[in-house]
Amino acid sequence: MLLKVYRLIVQHLSFIILIYGGRFGVQLGPAVPCFACPYVNGCGGQCYLMGLQGYIGFGISLADFWGFEGLRALFYLAVFIILVVLLGKIWCGWICPFGLFQDWLTYLRRKLGFSSLKIEPETLHKLGYVKYILLGWLILGPILVDLKVLHPDFYLPFCQMFCPAKPILPVFGGEFRHFALDTTNLVTRIVTTSSLLVTGGFLAAMFARPRFFCTFCPLLAMIHFLEPLTLLKLKKEPLLCHGCGTCQRVCNMDVEEVCLEKEKKDVQVVDCINCGDCIASCSAKGALGFSFAGKTLVSSSRELSLGLKTKKTSA
């Protein structure tokens, strides 16, 4: 419980910084590894996915890549990698503003008394491949625009067509215009229709199931590619595990590998967002925990799961 409280505090602080930070002079740059949407007026940082499709990524034409623009793209790629290596999927579970928005919807659903939508593990596993398709699209789209295969209005193809954060998060900055259909030409009609349908659909699904969009998030896939390098990981001591299955039951992403793993200590799987709910709920002392560079930061205990302070911390 205590871990959940800390997480809530960090999530809300991150939300304030990433959504409103620009209004107070905070600007974390364009390589933030979470959905810090640049469409929000006065945002305090920008999601790396947008830059990756645009001026610090695949939006650069090949002719311009061998120069300053290419160097700048490599610089921001390095910044992105360093941020992911340092914090791993803490970006998803603790910092992402759109993740917090999904958590709010889950809180609302629970308050209203609706039960969660359960999806079979096999179906969920198959749905998880969509994130790689979206990642491929956001890489291929700008290249096709540069090659003049696609109309220029397909620029930022993921943000413009599929990202539900693009219309939703600017609302917190007081801007509703991303809910409008752009009738300028046929391509803008297609692009905005797709965006609005996807957003409407995801809003309903995110209400019905916790962190539903995270299953499809291409940024989660990118962060997972860097998993071998990340310093912060979810660890399990299989010998200390009681096998009660609580970790799986409380998991918003329905990750079952953490519960089922009987040998390996590294249980960081692609869909795990490092929210720490499993650690907070596990009563087996030391069975689950976060480690940073091999050193345990926090581990499960009966006291932690009951929300009690340990003797050490209370002293």
């Binding site: 002719a63 120069g67 300053f68 259909l181 609005l196």
Partner: protein, 288 residues
């Protein structure tokens, strides 16, 4: 505070939204004038941004005795720097034979460019402005190398806070006093520009109409609109603006919300169906 600094201030831009007046179709007769025309900017691999301009005449007649200067406002520290011939510039040159001007910048700057030449025996003036998004390191804006020449010119006030000049936006051209600058007309290609004129508290403004050709292209596509005013004693003054398509003009909120809620409702029904089916199957298995 220099006039260009005023031009950059948002309040002035917002005030220009308050224009009142009636729209009139542009149908002025076109006298030959000199103007700045852009061509594709040079590619730079060191982070510099550039602009290539040609001083030309609207009727293709030769021009002579061309002069130019430009003035830079550094947007990074809001410092104003004036230039005139001979230019001490970051990187750039003017070819009198071709009347081509090249300006490159390693910094994020707003540059206002003035040109003057004799066309059909009368001295005329041309003006334009460009934003250069230079991002190179190690470039310093030089200090002014002299006072600004006293030439007839416009001060532009653009409505809204859009990234680019665009159709549907009002452009108020305020003539700098003491030059006898007449009422301006707007041209596009070889004829009058389509759009409406309005009279507001700051003066006469022009709103370029939406262009289907521009709308069909990407948002980076643009077309030149020339604002031309006669000068007392002959000659004229032009201001070149490259306008893009209207970024917000095509937005339809009602249709958008209908599509958004359609997506929402379809998903709700789909999820309800999944729940219902699952419960029905479970009940069937339990023999309820």
């Amino acid at each position: 505070m220099g006039p260009l600094k005023t031009f950059s201030l948002f309040p002035a831009l917002l005030l220009s939204l308050l224009f009142l007046g009636e729209g009139l179709l542009c149908a002025a007769e076109q006298d030959p004038y000199i103007r700045w025309e852009y061509k594709s900017p040079p590619r730079h691999r060191n982070g510099m941004a550039g602009v290539n301009l040609f001083l030309t005449s609207s009727d293709g007649a030769p021009i002579s005795d061309a002069f130019w200067y430009y003035r830079i406002i550094s947007l990074e520290n809001f410092r104003e720097v004036n230039f005139q011939l001979p230019p001490i510039i970051i990187s750039g040159y003017f070819e009198p034979g071709t009347n081509e001007l090249v300006i490159n910048s390693g910094k994020y700057i707003l540059v206002e460019i003035m040109g003057s030449a004799i066309l059909h025996g009368k001295r005329s003036y041309a003006q334009t402005g460009a934003l250069l998004f230079g991002e190179g390191k190690g470039y310093q804006l030089p200090e002014s190398n002299g006072p600004e020449p006293i030439w007839p010119s416009f001060m532009l006030i653009r409505s809204g806070e859009t990234y680019w000049p665009q159709t549907g936006q009002s452009f108020t051209m305020i003539p700098r006093p003491d030059f006898g600058i007449g009422e301006f007309a707007a041209y596009e290609g070889t004829g009058p520009a389509s759009g409406t004129f309005e009279n507001g508290p700051h003066g006469r403004s022009f709103i370029p109409a939406a262009d289907p050709k521009l709308n069909a292209q990407g948002s980076a596509a643009s077309k030149p609109v020339y604002f031309v005013a006669p000068l007392e004693g002959g000659g004229n003054l032009s201001y070149t603006i490259y306008v893009h398509r209207n970024r917000y003009g095509g937005e339809n909120m009602n249709l958008g919300l209908i599509i958004f809620f359609s997506g929402f409702v379809v998903t709700v029904f789909f999820l309800a169906r999944v729940f219902y089916l699952r419960r029905a199957l479970r009940h069937a298995a339990q023999g309820i």
